[in-house]
Amino acid sequence: MSERQLTEAFVELADTLVDDFDMMDFLHQVTVRCAQVLDVSAAGVLLTDQRGVLRVVAASTEQTRLLELLQLQTDEGPCPECFHTGRPIAVADLSTTTSRWPRFTAEARRSGFASVHALPMRLRTEVIGALNLFGVEPGALDENTIRLGQALADVATIGLLQARAIRHRETLAEQLQTALNSRIVIEQAKGVVAERRKIDVDQSFILLRSAARTSNRRLSELARAVIDGSAIV
Protein backbone atom coordinates (compact mmCIF):
# COMPACT_ATOMS: atom_id res chain seq x y z
CA MET A 1 0.00 0.00 0.00
CA SER A 2 1.36 3.41 -0.89
CA GLU A 3 1.10 6.43 1.34
CA ARG A 4 -0.77 8.24 -1.42
CA GLN A 5 -3.41 5.52 -1.58
CA LEU A 6 -3.81 5.73 2.14
CA THR A 7 -4.18 9.49 2.22
CA GLU A 8 -6.69 9.28 -0.60
CA ALA A 9 -8.71 6.74 1.33
CA PHE A 10 -8.99 8.91 4.42
CA VAL A 11 -9.69 12.06 2.42
CA GLU A 12 -12.38 10.29 0.41
CA LEU A 13 -14.02 8.92 3.53
CA ALA A 14 -13.81 12.25 5.33
CA ASP A 15 -15.34 13.96 2.28
CA THR A 16 -18.27 11.62 2.49
CA LEU A 17 -18.96 12.65 6.06
CA VAL A 18 -21.04 15.66 5.17
CA ASP A 19 -24.44 16.33 6.68
CA ASP A 20 -26.52 14.48 4.17
CA PHE A 21 -24.81 11.24 3.34
CA ASP A 22 -25.90 7.68 2.87
CA MET A 23 -24.77 5.43 5.68
CA MET A 24 -24.97 2.23 3.65
CA ASP A 25 -23.02 3.62 0.75
CA PHE A 26 -20.42 4.98 3.17
CA LEU A 27 -19.98 1.65 4.97
CA HIS A 28 -19.64 -0.09 1.62
CA GLN A 29 -16.89 2.38 0.70
CA VAL A 30 -15.11 1.72 3.98
CA THR A 31 -14.98 -2.00 3.23
CA VAL A 32 -13.80 -1.44 -0.34
CA ARG A 33 -11.06 0.88 0.90
CA CYS A 34 -10.06 -1.60 3.61
CA ALA A 35 -9.58 -4.31 1.02
CA GLN A 36 -7.41 -2.01 -1.13
CA VAL A 37 -5.39 -0.24 1.52
CA LEU A 38 -4.82 -3.17 3.86
CA ASP A 39 -4.23 -5.52 0.94
CA VAL A 40 -6.77 -8.13 1.97
CA SER A 41 -9.14 -9.88 -0.44
CA ALA A 42 -12.40 -9.05 1.26
CA ALA A 43 -13.72 -6.97 4.14
CA GLY A 44 -17.03 -6.71 5.92
CA VAL A 45 -18.70 -4.68 8.65
CA LEU A 46 -20.90 -6.35 11.26
CA LEU A 47 -22.96 -4.47 13.82
CA THR A 48 -24.80 -5.74 16.84
CA ASP A 49 -28.56 -5.51 17.01
CA GLN A 50 -30.46 -4.99 20.24
CA ARG A 51 -30.69 -8.72 20.75
CA GLY A 52 -26.89 -8.80 20.96
CA VAL A 53 -26.61 -10.64 17.64
CA LEU A 54 -24.06 -9.54 15.05
CA ARG A 55 -25.53 -8.71 11.65
CA VAL A 56 -23.86 -7.88 8.35
CA VAL A 57 -24.30 -4.30 7.18
CA ALA A 58 -21.73 -3.96 4.41
CA ALA A 59 -19.14 -5.90 2.44
CA SER A 60 -16.40 -5.00 -0.02
CA THR A 61 -17.89 -7.25 -2.67
CA GLU A 62 -21.61 -7.73 -2.40
CA GLN A 63 -21.43 -11.35 -3.40
CA THR A 64 -24.02 -13.41 -1.63
CA ARG A 65 -21.37 -15.97 -0.77
CA LEU A 66 -19.29 -13.43 1.15
CA LEU A 67 -22.38 -11.98 2.85
CA GLU A 68 -23.41 -15.43 4.00
CA LEU A 69 -19.92 -16.18 5.28
CA LEU A 70 -19.93 -12.95 7.26
CA GLN A 71 -23.40 -13.67 8.58
CA LEU A 72 -22.42 -17.16 9.67
CA GLN A 73 -20.81 -15.44 12.62
CA THR A 74 -24.02 -15.06 14.57
CA ASP A 75 -22.74 -17.77 16.87
CA GLU A 76 -19.12 -18.62 16.08
CA GLY A 77 -16.08 -17.08 14.42
CA PRO A 78 -13.56 -14.30 14.94
CA CYS A 79 -16.15 -11.48 14.93
CA PRO A 80 -18.18 -12.68 17.95
CA GLU A 81 -14.91 -13.22 19.86
CA CYS A 82 -13.65 -9.79 18.92
CA PHE A 83 -17.02 -8.29 19.81
CA HIS A 84 -17.20 -9.94 23.21
CA THR A 85 -13.61 -9.30 24.25
CA GLY A 86 -13.30 -5.89 22.58
CA ARG A 87 -9.88 -6.98 21.30
CA PRO A 88 -8.58 -7.64 17.78
CA ILE A 89 -8.55 -11.28 16.74
CA ALA A 90 -5.87 -12.47 14.31
CA VAL A 91 -5.89 -15.88 12.65
CA ALA A 92 -2.84 -16.28 10.45
CA ASP A 93 -3.86 -19.71 9.22
CA LEU A 94 -7.43 -20.95 9.04
CA SER A 95 -6.25 -24.58 8.97
CA THR A 96 -5.64 -24.24 12.72
CA THR A 97 -9.15 -23.17 13.77
CA THR A 98 -11.26 -26.18 12.79
CA SER A 99 -12.01 -27.18 16.37
CA ARG A 100 -12.41 -23.59 17.56
CA TRP A 101 -15.01 -22.57 14.91
CA PRO A 102 -15.95 -25.68 12.90
CA ARG A 103 -18.70 -24.22 10.69
CA PHE A 104 -17.07 -20.86 10.11
CA THR A 105 -13.67 -22.37 9.31
CA ALA A 106 -15.10 -24.86 6.84
CA GLU A 107 -17.12 -22.20 5.01
CA ALA A 108 -14.27 -19.67 4.96
CA ARG A 109 -11.88 -22.22 3.49
CA ARG A 110 -14.47 -23.35 0.96
CA SER A 111 -14.71 -19.70 -0.11
CA GLY A 112 -10.96 -19.73 -0.72
CA PHE A 113 -9.79 -17.79 2.34
CA ALA A 114 -6.70 -18.79 4.32
CA SER A 115 -6.47 -16.08 7.00
CA VAL A 116 -8.88 -13.84 8.86
CA HIS A 117 -8.77 -10.82 11.17
CA ALA A 118 -11.41 -9.06 13.21
CA LEU A 119 -11.08 -5.54 14.61
CA PRO A 120 -13.48 -4.04 17.15
CA MET A 121 -15.68 -1.04 16.35
CA ARG A 122 -15.81 0.96 19.53
CA LEU A 123 -17.81 3.92 20.72
CA ARG A 124 -16.32 5.11 23.97
CA THR A 125 -16.49 2.02 26.20
CA GLU A 126 -19.07 0.25 24.14
CA VAL A 127 -18.29 -2.23 21.36
CA ILE A 128 -20.92 -1.87 18.64
CA GLY A 129 -19.56 -4.21 15.99
CA ALA A 130 -16.51 -5.56 14.23
CA LEU A 131 -14.59 -5.12 11.01
CA ASN A 132 -13.79 -8.45 9.38
CA LEU A 133 -10.82 -8.90 7.01
CA PHE A 134 -10.17 -11.98 4.87
CA GLY A 135 -6.98 -12.99 3.07
CA VAL A 136 -6.44 -15.72 0.46
CA GLU A 137 -2.89 -16.38 1.65
CA PRO A 138 -1.98 -17.52 5.16
CA GLY A 139 -0.20 -14.95 7.31
CA ALA A 140 -0.93 -12.41 10.03
CA LEU A 141 -1.20 -8.72 9.17
CA ASP A 142 1.74 -6.77 10.56
CA GLU A 143 1.34 -4.35 13.44
CA ASN A 144 1.31 -1.32 11.18
CA THR A 145 -1.44 -2.71 8.99
CA ILE A 146 -3.51 -3.64 12.04
CA ARG A 147 -3.19 -0.06 13.29
CA LEU A 148 -4.38 1.22 9.91
CA GLY A 149 -7.24 -1.24 9.93
CA GLN A 150 -8.23 -0.02 13.37
CA ALA A 151 -8.16 3.57 12.11
CA LEU A 152 -10.52 2.60 9.29
CA ALA A 153 -12.77 0.80 11.78
CA ASP A 154 -12.87 4.01 13.81
CA VAL A 155 -13.77 6.02 10.71
CA ALA A 156 -16.59 3.57 10.06
CA THR A 157 -17.87 4.05 13.61
CA ILE A 158 -17.74 7.82 13.29
CA GLY A 159 -19.63 7.60 10.01
CA LEU A 160 -22.29 5.51 11.61
CA LEU A 161 -22.82 8.09 14.29
CA GLN A 162 -22.67 11.02 11.92
CA ALA A 163 -26.24 11.02 10.67
CA ARG A 164 -27.44 12.10 14.08
CA ALA A 165 -25.36 13.23 17.05
CA ILE A 166 -25.19 10.49 19.61
CA ARG A 167 -25.98 11.75 23.06
CA HIS A 168 -27.66 8.77 24.63
CA ARG A 169 -27.42 5.07 24.38
CA GLU A 170 -31.00 5.11 23.11
CA THR A 171 -30.09 7.19 20.09
CA LEU A 172 -27.29 4.78 19.30
CA ALA A 173 -29.79 1.92 19.43
CA GLU A 174 -32.00 3.76 16.95
CA GLN A 175 -29.05 4.30 14.65
CA LEU A 176 -27.88 0.70 14.71
CA GLN A 177 -31.37 -0.63 14.14
CA THR A 178 -31.84 1.71 11.19
CA ALA A 179 -28.55 0.56 9.66
CA LEU A 180 -29.52 -3.09 10.03
CA ASN A 181 -32.88 -2.50 8.41
CA SER A 182 -31.31 -0.59 5.54
CA ARG A 183 -29.15 -3.64 4.92
CA ILE A 184 -32.25 -5.83 4.56
CA VAL A 185 -33.92 -3.31 2.27
CA ILE A 186 -30.88 -3.37 -0.03
CA GLU A 187 -31.06 -7.18 -0.22
CA GLN A 188 -34.74 -6.99 -1.16
CA ALA A 189 -34.04 -4.38 -3.83
CA LYS A 190 -31.26 -6.59 -5.24
CA GLY A 191 -33.87 -9.31 -5.66
CA VAL A 192 -36.27 -6.97 -7.47
CA VAL A 193 -33.59 -5.81 -9.91
CA ALA A 194 -32.30 -9.35 -10.47
CA GLU A 195 -35.78 -10.59 -11.36
CA ARG A 196 -36.65 -7.66 -13.64
CA ARG A 197 -33.38 -7.67 -15.51
CA LYS A 198 -32.84 -11.42 -15.53
CA ILE A 199 -29.42 -11.05 -13.98
CA ASP A 200 -28.06 -12.58 -10.80
CA VAL A 201 -28.38 -10.85 -7.45
CA ASP A 202 -24.65 -10.25 -7.21
CA GLN A 203 -24.71 -8.11 -10.35
CA SER A 204 -27.75 -6.15 -9.29
CA PHE A 205 -25.96 -4.38 -6.43
CA ILE A 206 -23.57 -2.80 -8.93
CA LEU A 207 -26.53 -1.55 -10.95
CA LEU A 208 -28.29 -0.23 -7.87
CA ARG A 209 -25.23 1.60 -6.67
CA SER A 210 -24.46 3.22 -9.99
CA ALA A 211 -28.12 4.21 -10.42
CA ALA A 212 -27.99 5.86 -6.99
CA ARG A 213 -24.84 7.71 -7.99
CA THR A 214 -26.21 8.83 -11.34
CA SER A 215 -29.49 10.10 -9.91
CA ASN A 216 -27.73 11.52 -6.85
CA ARG A 217 -29.94 9.59 -4.45
CA ARG A 218 -29.10 7.71 -1.30
CA LEU A 219 -28.57 4.02 -1.88
CA SER A 220 -31.00 2.94 0.84
CA GLU A 221 -33.60 5.47 -0.28
CA LEU A 222 -33.36 4.25 -3.88
CA ALA A 223 -33.61 0.66 -2.64
CA ARG A 224 -36.87 1.49 -0.85
CA ALA A 225 -38.21 3.20 -3.96
CA VAL A 226 -37.32 0.14 -6.08
CA ILE A 227 -39.28 -2.07 -3.67
CA ASP A 228 -42.41 0.07 -3.60
CA GLY A 229 -42.29 0.49 -7.37
CA SER A 230 -41.73 4.25 -7.45
CA ALA A 231 -38.30 3.79 -9.05
CA ILE A 232 -37.18 1.37 -11.76
CA VAL A 233 -33.56 0.26 -11.97
Binding site: Q50, R55, Q71, E174, Q177, N181, Q188, G191, V192, E195
Partner: protein, 245 residues
Protein backbone atom coordinates in the same frame (compact mmCIF):
# COMPACT_ATOMS: atom_id res chain seq x y z
CA UNK B 1 -28.80 -15.96 24.92
CA UNK B 2 -31.09 -14.59 22.24
CA UNK B 3 -33.04 -17.85 21.94
CA UNK B 4 -33.72 -17.71 25.69
CA UNK B 5 -35.23 -14.30 25.17
CA UNK B 6 -37.44 -15.46 22.30
CA UNK B 7 -38.68 -18.42 24.32
CA UNK B 8 -39.29 -16.24 27.38
CA UNK B 9 -41.22 -13.68 25.36
CA UNK B 10 -43.43 -16.30 23.70
CA UNK B 11 -43.99 -17.99 27.06
CA UNK B 12 -45.24 -14.69 28.46
CA UNK B 13 -47.54 -14.17 25.46
CA UNK B 14 -48.82 -17.74 25.92
CA UNK B 15 -49.47 -17.09 29.62
CA UNK B 16 -51.55 -14.06 28.74
CA UNK B 17 -53.50 -16.04 26.14
CA UNK B 18 -54.51 -18.62 28.80
CA UNK B 19 -54.95 -21.36 26.25
CA UNK B 20 -56.78 -19.23 23.67
CA UNK B 21 -55.27 -18.58 20.23
CA UNK B 22 -52.58 -15.95 20.69
CA UNK B 23 -53.31 -12.48 19.39
CA UNK B 24 -51.77 -9.03 19.28
CA UNK B 25 -53.80 -8.15 22.38
CA UNK B 26 -51.89 -10.84 24.29
CA UNK B 27 -48.57 -9.47 23.02
CA UNK B 28 -49.51 -6.04 24.36
CA UNK B 29 -50.48 -7.43 27.75
CA UNK B 30 -47.34 -9.58 27.86
CA UNK B 31 -45.13 -6.61 26.93
CA UNK B 32 -46.55 -4.60 29.84
CA UNK B 33 -45.52 -7.37 32.25
CA UNK B 34 -42.36 -8.48 30.46
CA UNK B 35 -40.80 -5.07 29.79
CA UNK B 36 -42.24 -3.40 32.88
CA UNK B 37 -44.21 -0.52 31.36
CA UNK B 38 -47.58 0.99 32.23
CA UNK B 39 -49.32 0.38 28.95
CA UNK B 40 -48.89 -0.84 25.37
CA UNK B 41 -50.62 -0.47 22.03
CA UNK B 42 -50.18 -1.74 18.50
CA UNK B 43 -51.04 0.22 15.41
CA UNK B 44 -51.07 -1.42 12.02
CA UNK B 45 -49.92 0.90 9.28
CA UNK B 46 -49.93 0.38 5.57
CA UNK B 47 -48.50 3.83 5.06
CA UNK B 48 -48.32 6.83 7.39
CA UNK B 49 -51.74 7.77 6.02
CA UNK B 50 -53.43 4.37 6.16
CA UNK B 51 -53.44 2.99 9.67
CA UNK B 52 -55.52 1.38 12.30
CA UNK B 53 -55.10 0.96 16.01
CA UNK B 54 -55.39 -2.78 16.64
CA UNK B 55 -55.21 -2.93 20.38
CA UNK B 56 -54.36 -0.86 23.44
CA UNK B 57 -54.04 -2.22 26.97
CA UNK B 58 -55.59 0.80 28.66
CA UNK B 59 -57.22 4.15 28.13
CA UNK B 60 -53.96 6.09 28.01
CA UNK B 61 -52.38 3.75 25.44
CA UNK B 62 -55.54 4.14 23.38
CA UNK B 63 -55.30 7.92 23.59
CA UNK B 64 -51.67 7.82 22.48
CA UNK B 65 -52.64 5.95 19.32
CA UNK B 66 -55.53 8.36 18.84
CA UNK B 67 -53.38 11.50 19.17
CA UNK B 68 -50.87 10.26 16.64
CA UNK B 69 -53.62 9.36 14.22
CA UNK B 70 -55.23 12.75 14.70
CA UNK B 71 -52.11 14.87 14.45
CA UNK B 72 -50.18 12.71 12.02
CA UNK B 73 -47.07 13.07 14.17
CA UNK B 74 -45.43 11.39 17.12
CA UNK B 75 -42.92 8.65 17.90
CA UNK B 76 -45.03 5.94 16.34
CA UNK B 77 -45.28 7.87 13.07
CA UNK B 78 -41.50 8.46 13.12
CA UNK B 79 -40.69 4.85 14.00
CA UNK B 80 -42.75 3.71 11.03
CA UNK B 81 -41.14 6.24 8.70
CA UNK B 82 -37.57 5.61 9.80
CA UNK B 83 -37.85 1.86 10.31
CA UNK B 84 -36.05 2.01 13.66
CA UNK B 85 -37.09 2.40 17.29
CA UNK B 86 -37.88 5.89 18.58
CA UNK B 87 -37.18 6.12 22.29
CA UNK B 88 -38.54 9.09 24.18
CA UNK B 89 -36.90 8.92 27.56
CA UNK B 90 -38.48 12.12 28.86
CA UNK B 91 -41.43 13.50 26.96
CA UNK B 92 -41.27 16.67 29.06
CA UNK B 93 -37.90 17.74 27.63
CA UNK B 94 -38.11 20.69 25.19
CA UNK B 95 -36.62 18.66 22.32
CA UNK B 96 -39.80 16.69 21.97
CA UNK B 97 -42.11 19.67 22.06
CA UNK B 98 -40.16 21.02 19.10
CA UNK B 99 -40.22 17.66 17.32
CA UNK B 100 -43.97 16.99 17.77
CA UNK B 101 -45.62 20.31 18.69
CA UNK B 102 -49.19 18.98 18.66
CA UNK B 103 -48.69 15.46 19.92
CA UNK B 104 -46.38 16.20 22.85
CA UNK B 105 -48.67 18.45 24.95
CA UNK B 106 -51.60 16.08 24.37
CA UNK B 107 -49.59 13.04 25.47
CA UNK B 108 -48.18 14.86 28.50
CA UNK B 109 -51.73 15.82 29.40
CA UNK B 110 -52.68 12.14 29.24
CA UNK B 111 -50.03 11.53 31.90
CA UNK B 112 -47.32 9.96 29.76
CA UNK B 113 -43.72 10.52 30.89
CA UNK B 114 -41.74 8.19 28.60
CA UNK B 115 -42.70 6.54 25.34
CA UNK B 116 -41.01 3.85 23.28
CA UNK B 117 -42.12 3.18 19.71
CA UNK B 118 -40.83 -0.01 18.10
CA UNK B 119 -41.44 -0.81 14.46
CA UNK B 120 -43.10 -4.13 13.74
CA UNK B 121 -41.36 -5.11 10.54
CA UNK B 122 -39.14 -7.40 8.52
CA UNK B 123 -36.77 -5.27 6.47
CA UNK B 124 -38.85 -3.17 4.11
CA UNK B 125 -41.95 -5.05 5.11
CA UNK B 126 -43.54 -2.73 7.63
CA UNK B 127 -46.58 -3.90 9.44
CA UNK B 128 -46.99 -1.30 12.14
CA UNK B 129 -45.65 -0.08 15.44
CA UNK B 130 -45.67 -1.30 19.03
CA UNK B 131 -45.94 1.64 21.44
CA UNK B 132 -44.98 1.23 25.09
CA UNK B 133 -45.43 4.01 27.62
CA UNK B 134 -44.49 4.77 31.20
CA UNK B 135 -45.94 7.42 33.50
CA UNK B 136 -42.49 8.13 34.90
CA UNK B 137 -39.73 9.42 32.62
CA UNK B 138 -36.60 7.30 32.31
CA UNK B 139 -34.81 5.04 29.82
CA UNK B 140 -35.36 1.38 29.12
CA UNK B 141 -32.40 -0.68 30.30
CA UNK B 142 -30.57 -2.54 27.50
CA UNK B 143 -32.26 -5.78 28.61
CA UNK B 144 -35.70 -4.12 28.66
CA UNK B 145 -35.11 -2.70 25.19
CA UNK B 146 -34.06 -6.12 23.89
CA UNK B 147 -37.24 -7.62 25.39
CA UNK B 148 -39.33 -4.84 23.88
CA UNK B 149 -37.90 -5.57 20.43
CA UNK B 150 -38.63 -9.26 20.89
CA UNK B 151 -42.26 -8.40 21.73
CA UNK B 152 -42.41 -6.28 18.57
CA UNK B 153 -41.20 -9.33 16.61
CA UNK B 154 -43.88 -11.44 18.29
CA UNK B 155 -46.53 -8.89 17.27
CA UNK B 156 -45.23 -9.08 13.70
CA UNK B 157 -45.48 -12.85 13.62
CA UNK B 158 -49.06 -12.74 14.89
CA UNK B 159 -50.05 -10.04 12.41
CA UNK B 160 -48.82 -12.32 9.65
CA UNK B 161 -50.81 -15.06 11.32
CA UNK B 162 -53.95 -12.96 11.03
CA UNK B 163 -53.14 -12.45 7.37
CA UNK B 164 -53.88 -16.15 6.90
CA UNK B 165 -50.66 -17.92 7.76
CA UNK B 166 -50.88 -20.20 10.72
CA UNK B 167 -47.49 -21.47 11.80
CA UNK B 168 -47.37 -23.55 14.94
CA UNK B 169 -46.14 -21.87 18.07
CA UNK B 170 -43.06 -24.05 18.16
CA UNK B 171 -42.19 -23.19 14.57
CA UNK B 172 -42.71 -19.52 15.33
CA UNK B 173 -40.49 -19.56 18.41
CA UNK B 174 -37.82 -21.36 16.36
CA UNK B 175 -38.16 -18.92 13.49
CA UNK B 176 -37.56 -15.95 15.76
CA UNK B 177 -34.08 -17.18 16.42
CA UNK B 178 -33.43 -19.07 13.22
CA UNK B 179 -30.21 -17.64 11.78
CA UNK B 180 -31.47 -18.45 8.28
CA UNK B 181 -34.26 -15.95 8.88
CA UNK B 182 -31.61 -13.24 8.68
CA UNK B 183 -29.84 -14.54 5.65
CA UNK B 184 -29.36 -12.36 2.62
CA UNK B 185 -31.11 -14.82 0.35
CA UNK B 186 -34.40 -14.64 2.24
CA UNK B 187 -34.56 -10.93 1.52
CA UNK B 188 -33.33 -11.30 -2.05
CA UNK B 189 -35.99 -13.94 -2.69
CA UNK B 190 -38.63 -11.59 -1.28
CA UNK B 191 -37.56 -8.99 -3.83
CA UNK B 192 -37.68 -11.49 -6.69
CA UNK B 193 -41.11 -12.79 -5.67
CA UNK B 194 -42.43 -9.26 -5.44
CA UNK B 195 -41.79 -8.97 -9.19
CA UNK B 196 -43.08 -12.47 -10.01
CA UNK B 197 -46.30 -11.93 -8.09
CA UNK B 198 -46.75 -8.27 -8.92
CA UNK B 199 -47.36 -7.76 -5.22
CA UNK B 200 -46.06 -5.75 -2.29
CA UNK B 201 -42.97 -6.85 -0.36
CA UNK B 202 -45.29 -7.81 2.51
CA UNK B 203 -47.34 -10.15 0.35
CA UNK B 204 -44.23 -11.60 -1.33
CA UNK B 205 -42.67 -12.42 2.04
CA UNK B 206 -45.95 -13.89 3.29
CA UNK B 207 -46.07 -16.16 0.22
CA UNK B 208 -42.47 -17.22 0.76
CA UNK B 209 -43.20 -18.17 4.35
CA UNK B 210 -46.49 -19.82 3.46
CA UNK B 211 -44.70 -21.94 0.87
CA UNK B 212 -42.04 -22.98 3.39
CA UNK B 213 -44.62 -23.96 6.01
CA UNK B 214 -46.90 -25.73 3.55
CA UNK B 215 -44.01 -27.82 2.24
CA UNK B 216 -42.40 -28.30 5.64
CA UNK B 217 -39.14 -26.75 4.50
CA UNK B 218 -36.81 -24.19 6.01
CA UNK B 219 -37.37 -20.63 4.91
CA UNK B 220 -33.69 -20.28 3.95
CA UNK B 221 -33.82 -23.36 1.70
CA UNK B 222 -36.91 -22.17 -0.16
CA UNK B 223 -35.34 -18.73 -0.56
CA UNK B 224 -32.23 -20.30 -2.08
CA UNK B 225 -34.41 -22.12 -4.65
CA UNK B 226 -36.06 -18.83 -5.59
CA UNK B 227 -32.76 -16.94 -5.89
CA UNK B 228 -31.18 -19.74 -7.92
CA UNK B 229 -34.28 -19.80 -10.12
CA UNK B 230 -35.37 -23.34 -9.36
CA UNK B 231 -38.68 -22.12 -7.95
CA UNK B 232 -41.10 -19.51 -9.24
CA UNK B 233 -44.44 -18.57 -7.74
CA UNK B 234 -47.41 -17.39 -9.77
CA UNK B 235 -49.78 -14.61 -8.85
CA UNK B 236 -52.42 -16.04 -6.63
CA UNK B 237 -55.89 -16.19 -8.22
CA UNK B 238 -58.55 -17.53 -5.84
CA UNK B 239 -58.36 -21.29 -5.62
CA UNK B 240 -54.88 -21.53 -7.11
CA UNK B 241 -52.87 -23.89 -4.99
CA UNK B 242 -49.48 -23.87 -6.64
CA UNK B 243 -47.97 -23.24 -3.25
CA UNK B 244 -49.77 -26.21 -1.77
CA UNK B 245 -52.24 -24.34 0.38
Amino acid sequence: MSSDRVVRVWAEVGRQAEGNPMSVAHVCAAAVVGVGVDGAGVTVMVSPAVRDSVHATDHVAGELEEWQLTFGEGPCVDAFAVGGPVLVVDLGSPDFLARWPAFTPAALNSGVGALFALPVQVGAIRLGVLDLYRVRPGPLSPAELADALAFADAAGTLLFDEAGIRPTTVAVAGQGDDPTAHHAQVYQATGMLLVQLGSSAEAAFARLRAYAYAHDRRLGDVARDVVERRLRLRPDPPGDDDDGR
